[in-house]
């Protein structure tokens, strides 16, 4: 019962685990889509607490990790320009582009600023009318509505020196791509709770039916995750494949209609490349033509960037659930949070970072010595 004392309610956690043990009769593989859930699972050792028959596979749900290298390189190029104030969330700072990251760009004199909210970037644009302020707009359906509102506000208030480098991604097409892969082992999904807080659950029944997989909307606390697993396993054992909401305290079936309406106004669906995975049709958003004036890709000529992914990095397989982070040869040796090969090692939601932070003592001794300690 490793880490069980950390559970808010150890007794309830035990009861959920007992119920899962009593229900499961054969092996099942479940994918948690959200990187926040991956960290919660590894941090609490939930994967170790579950019966051997239940395997948790980590999905592509870290927006920082899946942002294509080409977009990171565009961000680095824009951020290096003297007229630009480049604003980003903090977890993009150390994501490696080709050769460097935003942290280094600031060290070289670039005006890179960390903001908590995209509205902070808009405020910086208002205060600096003689500069070009660019916000790095990445993220899933949870982050897209705040970014959409910010672009909407920029237009409404006539803030002409504000633009956004947009690389938003959508979860349902990623689930579709994972299930369509011949090497897919996933039999059920724990859907990302906060994505569903915005989008509701309407996009999932068709996927559950078509691929015959249960999809359980799941929260982030240890008990939430255990409850999500319990409901998914119960469906699998019964041969069911429906959409179930185990996070009803934060997810209404219809999501947040105001946010969804703003998304439809400001963005339009587009094909999007996922770092390490490749192009997934209809899996992203870009600014709609109405807001093209605020599109940083149009404002700055950043085409023709050649990208080079490190050959040793296998984060694409990690993101698709085909490889566990510690099974990668470079893990903990060539690739550490100090010297990351891929974004999955530095993002606060990255699967490799989770394994490194919480499992580094599991490394073979020689590897562990070479690996630089982080915390």
């Amino acid at each position: 019962m490793k880490y069980i004392d950390e559970f808010q309610d150890p007794e309830l956690a035990r009861r959920l685990l007992d119920d899962i043990r009593a229900t499961v009769t054969r092996p099942w593989a479940l994918m948690e889509v959200c990187g926040g859930q991956t960290h919660s699972i590894i941090r609490h050792g939930i994967d170790q607490l579950l019966p051997d028959e239940v395997e948790l596979i980590h999905g592509p749900g870290c927006p920082v990790c899946v942002t294509p290298l080409e977009v990171i390189d565009k961000a680095l190029e824009i951020a290096s320009r003297p007229e630009v104030i480049f604003c980003s969330f903090g977890d993009m700072l150390r994501v490696p582009g080709t050769g460097r990251d935003l942290f280094q760009v600031r060290g070289e004199g670039g005006d890179v600023r960390v903001v908590y909210s995209p509205l902070d970037a808009l405020r910086i644009a208002q205060r600096n009318p003689d500069r070009e302020v660019v916000f790095f707009g990445i993220g899933f359906e949870t982050t897209a509505p705040p970014n959409a509102m910010t672009v909407h506000q920029a237009r409404k208030l006539g803030i002409g020196n504000f633009s956004m480098l947009v690389s938003h991604v959508r979860v349902p097409p990623a689930i579709e791509a994972i299930m369509s892969s011949p090497s897919c082992r996933v039999q059920g999904f724990l859907a990302a709770g906060h994505v569903c807080s915005v989008m509701g659950v309407g996009e999932y029944p068709e996927l559950a039916e078509r691929f015959r997989v249960p999809i359980v909307v799941t929260g982030f606390e240890p008990l939430d995750i255990l409850e999500g697993v319990r409901r998914a396993v119960r469906q699998l054992e019964r041969g069911e494949h429906t959409v179930d909401n185990a996070y009803a305290r934060a997810v209404r079936p219809e999501g947040n209609p105001a946010a969804r309406a703003m998304l439809e106004d400001v963005f339009e669906v587009t094909d999007r490349a996922w770092r390490g995975i490749g192009v997934i049709p209809d899996s992203g958003w870009r600014l709609s033509s109405k807001y093209r004036d605020h599109d940083a890709e149009h404002r700055f000529a950043v085409g023709g960037i050649r990208t080079v992914e490190p050959a040793e990095c296998r984060s694409g397989e990690v993101l698709q659930g085909l490889l566990k982070p510690h099974e990668c040869e470079a893990f903990g040796t060539l690739c550490t949070p100090r010297t990351p090969l891929g974004a999955t090692m530095v993002s606060s939601e990255g699967a490799c970072a989770a394994y490194y932070l919480y499992r580094r003592l599991d490394l073979p001794a020689a590897k562990a010595r070479e690996a630089s300690p982080v915390v």
Partner: protein
Amino acid sequence: MCLAVPGRVLDIEERDGTRMATVDFGGVVKEVCLEYLPDLRVGEYAIVHVGFALQRLDEESARQTLELFAELGMLQEEFGDAWEMAAAEAGVEPVTEAPADETPVAEVLAEEVRNR
């Protein structure tokens, strides 16, 4: 960044034609946009992501989640100084000083959060 944190509305006002609130995240106080939850009232809880309230939450659920996040250091991760964290991770000296109008590092009342 993916983390959405429950917070309690302390105060609401209109600014630039936008409905904004002051929200308490277990000791860290931030400004939050209410455009997506316009009928949220003072004293109520909501899930907040990158400065936007996205969904209502009952008080008990909010309190439990906040306590867990505080215990796990996730509030520090979300509201702490990203430059310091990046420098520590990179194994270099922290970037000296933030530009004057950079979002001030949250009034991270780390002690208060820890002592809750």
